[in-house]
Subunit: 252 residues, 2 copies
Amino acid sequence: MSTPRLLLLSSSAVHGHGYLEYAATDINIFLNKNRVSTVLFIPYASADYDSYLKKVEAVFSKWGYQVEGIHKHNPVEAVANAEAIFIGGGNTFLLLKTLYDKNLIKPIRQRILNDGVPYIGSSAGTNVAAPTIHNTNDMPIVYPPSFKALNLIPFNINPHYLDPDNNSTHKGETREERILQYHGLPSEYDVFNVLGLREGCTLFIDGQVGILKGINNARLFIRGKPPKEIAVGTDLSHLLTDTLRTEKKLTP
Amino acid sequence: MSTPRLLLLSSSAVHGHGYLEYAATDINIFLNKNRVSTVLFIPYASADYDSYLKKVEAVFSKWGYQVEGIHKHNPVEAVANAEAIFIGGGNTFLLLKTLYDKNLIKPIRQRILNDGVPYIGSSAGTNVAAPTIHNTNDMPIVYPPSFKALNLIPFNINPHYLDPDNNSTHKGETREERILQYHGLPSEYDVFNVLGLREGCTLFIDGQVGILKGINNARLFIRGKPPKEIAVGTDLSHLLTDTLRTEKKLTP
Ligand SMILES: [Ca+2]
Ligand SMILES: [Ca+2]
């Protein structure tokens, strides 16, 4: 793997903060350090591209960045020319299907892994940075041609990670139960480790270095081990080694 | 459509009730009326078939029914010989993928629609009775060859339907937002109406007659109309007419 530069937010909205606000410092340092002046925004997780673009432009322009909406251009050319890429949240299935429909999976992956183009993802945009979207919380409202995603890191992510609510009478699975169901699949399925990013978590990756940033702890699920709390500031570089990736018999 | 006989439970577990207990009377009347003595149980939504079978056997044997686990037989033959079919909850993606892997979609559908074999579903087992699983809450831990399901009714179901928690600081989508996202898909997608079954809801269908049973209200989402509360006892037969089904361009 070459030099991916990633800033993966659990969500853009965090209680008590404006849109992307909790991560403003990290985003600004990330883009400045990489001398970015224009960000290519991909709004495919939503159905209303134009109003989504306006929302994103309002924040990035305040910070001094230009934003281009990919839907206003030839998408493959826009990716080829991008200085930086931001994929926002919405529905992960709709996002992934649209990336496939527009033949963008390989081009985006190559720009990030080969050319070192900085990538910011939030929620669904963070899900698709992982090898697969098997650990999204979203409703499967459309059928993508595969659950394989951009595969920029060797583990899956569960954004909006949520602790069990002990006062709840609801009998649907907790988030932890859902991830353990995934890790408990029959042995013919190979699965990935899962990093549960609570709202307010940001995963920062620069080449071989990974660090948990943000304002909230994460929860790490290594298959066969008890889940583990990860404090803000923790070095997660060991998760980036390929030995943790197992995809022998991954379904598409 | 011929004579489907369906009892679709939102969930087997309901706060304050034992396994399947809230629906005991409805299940017993349903099976007795149809002169069932043995129920074919399909545990594919779970990874541990044997312990799941034991749990189901414990309850049905108390009621005087035999239970056969499909995994102990040739599955296609077991379906061909079934007096009644029960598909339990777990993970909807794992369930649907396994039904496809074992070539059971058509045989089960034919037994129910052509031969009038009574069908009981719970949670994931209720999701797969619908045209598609686009409205499951489950995590997409495996990739099924399609989201199209048994298609026994002309609308989708969201089991474990949950009202927004006004005290929550969590920013993930509410259930209603997720269903409205589905209905707000771009016009090239054709979508189904969605019946949100709160835990404790049971949808009873006998041919052209549909009634909401159980101990909790449901919430109905007709595309383009405001969501509507459905009280226990409401006649839902009008939902069974084919005019509500739109599947022009459904993705697989
Ligand atoms: Ca989402
Ligand atoms: Ca489930």
